[in-house]
């Protein structure tokens, strides 16, 4: 297994290099020179030139040891992304935003998995009944309603009208207080698609011969569902779950914006809006690394849960 992991990690090197090259081309060559913007209104050419010097924008693009690409490469490898446009170190921004984003996304993520997998087991078990039909209808309805509507509705009723939750972030509030409503909204909005997916997975398993055999042998419902059906449904579940983990890092743009959660989703969209390439570049790079790492973890998990999958 160690050899397998090492081999997979080695495969990630060209991927990360590719990401670095792509972000460099996108932000440096396509995005253009940002020094004029940074210089502000009525800036003199000297100020613009000084900014180019400060940010290394006057250096050659590729063909030098001190080129912009090599520096881009070095900064990525050392995780030293320099300072953002507002002169705060980029890494500090990311560290500060990661906490609130994860506080929002992790409970939401766990909630979605636990609820949708549990309900899908139940729904698959009672397939064809009125409960199954009703669940599917609710899921489709939930998927059809725009995400923003859930946020507006939730914020209006639960926070403003009934005062059950705070309307907006405040440092006086504990993390649980300010993420509670966004988490609930996030779970409700994502439940439809997840539940439908897991229901399909569970149904495939429920129709298998081994399930009938298990019931015929007199095993309890709980044992059949949790010991056999759930275990055999793990491959698609793992694929979906583990591959979603890197995206937790990116936070949730709309929820963070509407509830004022100072997370990374907010940071990212703000960076895009103000063309803060230093932040966008760092976020893209870290996301790419996380994605690659979790891809490897997914492959390892396959072998763990399914003995038929070999590390060879």
């Amino acid at each position: 297994m160690t050899v397998y992991i090492i081999r997979r990690l080695l495969y990630t090197i060209p991927i990360v290099l590719g990401v670095l090259l792509l972000t460099f081309v996108l932000f440096t060559l396509v995005g253009g020179d940002i020094s004029v913007e940074l210089a502000g209104k009525n800036a003199t050419p000297e100020t613009i030139e000084e900014i180019r010097e400060e940010y290394g924008l006057n250096k050659p693009l590729f063909l030098s040891w001190d080129s912009q690409f090599i520096n881009h490469f070095k900064s990525a490898l050392t995780f030293d992304f320099g300072r953002a446009r507002d002169r705060e170190p980029v890494i500090d921004k990311i560290k500060r935003g990661a906490g609130p984003s994860l506080a929002l996304m992790v409970p939401m993520f766990i909630g979605i998995i636990v609820i949708s997998v549990s309900l899908s087991l139940v729904v698959a078990f009672v397939r064809g009944t009125v409960w199954d039909v009703l669940t599917v209808i609710i899921c489709v309805a939930g998927m059809s309603i725009p995400y923003l509507s859930f946020i507006l509705f939730g914020q209006y009723f639960f926070a403003y009208k009934w005062g059950l939750f705070p309307v907006f972030f405040s440092p006086d509030l504990s993390t649980v207080q300010y993420v509670a409503l966004p988490v609930l909204i996030g779970i409700v909005t994502s439940l439809g698609s997840n539940l439908r997916f897991y229901r399909t997975v569970m149904l495939d398993e429920m129709r298998s011969d081994y399930v009938r055999t298990a019931f015929a042998k007199g095993l309890t419902t709980r044992r059949v569902l949790f010991k056999h059906v759930l275990k055999n449904a793990m491959i698609p579940i793992i694929t979906r779950v583990v591959m979603a983990i890197p995206f937790l890092f990116l936070g949730s743009l709309l929820l963070e914006r509407f509830f004022g959660i100072p997370g990374l989703g907010y940071l990212m969209i703000e960076a895009i809006g103000s063309r803060d390439y230093f932040v966008i570049n760092a976020m893209t790079y870290i996301s790419a690394i996380l994605f690659v790492v979790f891809n490897v973890i997914t492959d390892i998990c396959y072998a763990w849960v399914d003995p038929r999958v070999s590390f060879d």
Binding site: N42, Y156, F168, F169, P171, L181, Y266, I272, G273
Partner: protein, 607 residues
């Protein structure tokens, strides 16, 4: 039976989780109220970027920094039009007869806030050297201050200092003790400024602008690049917390010398209770909190919940707040919310790039576009019929505003005339006018709708248009590089002098300067040069109006509107009077704690 047990287990689990979640989250939502402190609760729709005065560009950063830093002069809080009065200065500046030397005496006994950058953490007394040091920081090219352009060519020896900083290898090599002839400090309380030529805007631009406020050298050297988040000033408040992008909290500066509330104002101020605190020592508030709320809905809810002291009326909630312009709904009245009308010193327009081969040499085309736009309809559709139609450059709130401007220019809505002018324009162009591309500085629904409105108006007179929606930086880049053909933008006054608006048409300020129109008119330039050394006077006013007429005649823009707004204010928010320059105003404001507490009860009843 087994099935039921499974359902029950899951149902009980969910119920327990949900109950715990709601229980934990809804405890103690308003700790502010329990502290008994007087807290001003504000919000910004955009984050602030820096607490270093020399790096400030946006109005929000100015608004916060002006509570921490102080300037030599400030605008009188109650008097209109704007009147400058001393703040850190002992008295108004003295000018030599040739208006080339300005002497300012500063107050004694003004101290910087306590901070770890000072020996023993105790703030030291402010000296005139601090002003010179702060100005040198703006000139130092290594600091990349966007505010240098205000000083270029104005102060004797200042440009040479900037040149010197360019020759330095690094920021550490810049010698701040290097003398500047035009910035002298004969003693710790006297500042002498020598000008290259008379500069009528000196006091407004340099002495009343937070961007030039004195900062402590010790702080700059102690915090280095992190000075952006460690402001050390002499003002009534100090920074307690800055959660970038979400929350700013200032607390009262215990070292602040205190400043009396104004004892005189305008007629009606006393009746409005604005002089009730006359002579009392400010600031009144213990804390100021700004939340950064980019979406209107949460800000509106927070306001109605009583967690914000004031709020402009969101477009989507207009009917909830107003029955007609100037008239509040019963709900607002029952909540004791009052309405304040604010008139902004701003102008918004469609700018024409005069370097564009189609537009630049075709005045009838520019006139046709002007006549094609239904400005009143535009204001009705987008701004609840509240904004003023812009017939010219200078907003009505400025003292230089020309009351006859409506008769000038081409801002009347006259599609028939526009159609005739299009035919004339086609003759000049030698055929059909190609599709005109209009750049907008945003991609949101507002800009899409705004674009559609303009497109419909212009196309109705026989022209073809294409909307080019983009983000603000891209827009800025296009306009600065003279790539945009027509661009929708606007601007506000930085000082109470209309030169701010007229400078947008001065040929020396062509793109990337503020003259995004790339407009050139030698007569306008001559008058601009002449007025730029004139003090405020009836003669200068006449010349300003003449310059405005020249621009209106040449038609490098289609002026659209001047911003007017309504702000809702809670009854507990006292001493509120709108000022076009929102600098350092929190010290005047106070909260009636009793009324604030009663509001919560009132809200419960109404809900």
């Amino acid at each position: 039976m087994k099935k039921h047990r499974l359902y029950n287990t899951i149902a009980v689990l969910f119920s327990v989780m949900l109950f715990a979640f709601v229980f934990i989250s809804c405890r103690d939502l308003s700790p502010d109220e329990q502290s008994g402190e007087m807290v001003l609760n504000h919000y910004f729709p955009s984050k602030i970027k820096s607490f270093d005065p020399i790096l400030i560009q946006d109005e929000y950063s100015l608004s916060v920094c002006s509570q921490i830093f102080e300037t030599l002069y400030q605008y009188h809080y109650l008097k209109r039009p704007c009147v400058l009065i001393p703040l850190l200065a002992e008295e108004m500046p003295e000018f030599s007869d040739d208006r080339l030397t300005c002497t300012v005496k500063i107050k004694k006994g003004v101290y910087f806030q306590d901070d770890e950058c000072f020996p023993n953490g105790r703030g030291r007394e402010l000296r005139t050297e601090d002003f010179v040091y702060s100005l040198k920081r703006t000139a130092d090219i290594k600091n990349l201050s966007p505010n240098w352009s205000y000083f270029e060519g104005k102060i004797v020896g200042f440009d040479e200092f900037r040149e010197y900083t360019k020759s330095c290898e690094s920021a550490a090599d810049v010698d701040y003790s290097r003398p500047i002839e035009g910035l002298q400090t004969p003693d710790d309380y006297t500042l002498v400024i020598k000008l290259v030529r008379p500069w009528p805007q000196l006091v407004d631009n340099m002495m009343a602008d937070v961007r030039d406020a004195p900062v402590a050298r010790e702080a700059v050297e102690y915090y280095g690049k992190d000075i952006v988040s460690h402001p050390v000033g002499t003002g009534p408040f100090i920074l307690k917390q800055w959660k970038r992008g979400s929350y700013i909290e200032l607390i009262r500066n215990p070292n602040f010398r205190g400043e009396p509330y104004p004892s005189e104002g305008e007629p009606g101020d006393a009746e409005a209770g604005l002089l009730d605190d006359a002579g009392k020592i400010m600031p009144f508030a213990d804390r100021i909190v700004w939340r950064i709320i980019e979406e209107e809905q949460p800000a509106w809810f927070l306001f109605l919940q009583g967690n914000l002291d004031g709020k402009s009326i969101p477009k989507d909630n207009w009917d909830e707040a107003m029955t007609a312009p100037g008239e509040l709904t019963d709900k607002m009245k029952r909540l004791n919310i009052r309405l304040e009308k604010i008139q902004d010193a701003s102008v918004f327009f469609l700018g024409f790039n005069m370097l564009d081969p189609v537009l630049g040499s075709n005045k009838p085309l520019r006139q046709a576009i002007n006549y094609s736009i239904d400005r009143e309809g535009f204001i009705k559709t987008f701004f609840n019929d509240v904004y003023d139609v812009a017939y010219g450059i200078i907003p009505p709130v400025m003292s230089d505003y020309d009351p006859n401007v409506k008769q000038l220019g081409y801002a009347d809505y006259d599609p028939d005339k526009a159609r005739q002018l299009v035919l004339e324009a086609e003759k000049i162009h030698g055929g059909k006018i190609p599709t005109l591309k209009i750049a907008f500085q945003g991609t949101s629904t507002f800009y899409r709708q705004f674009g559609q409105f303009i497109k419909r108006n212009i196309e109705a007179v026989g022209l073809e248009t294409e909307l080019d929606l983009m983000d603000w930086p891209t827009f800025q880049q296009k306009v600065n590089s003279a790539e945009a053909q027509i661009f929708a933008v606007g601007g506000g006054a930085g000082i109470p002098d209309s030169q701010d608006f007229l400078s947008m048409f001065y040929s020396k300020y062509k793109a990337p300067g503020p003259n995004h129109f790339n407009y050139v008119n030698p007569e306008f330039d001559r008058l601009y040069d002449m007025t730029s050394i004139m003090n405020d006077s009836p003669q200068r006013r006449q010349l300003y109006r003449k310059m405005e007429r020249i621009v209106l005649e040449d038609c490098p823009a289609a002026f659209l509107d001047h911003r007017v707004g309504y702000v809702l204010i809670h009854s507990w928010y006292e001493n509120y009077k709108y000022h076009i320059f929102q600098y350092g105003l929190s010290k005047y404001r106070r909260i009636d704690m009793q009324k604030r507490a009663e509001y919560k009860e009132l809200l419960k009843k109404i809900k």
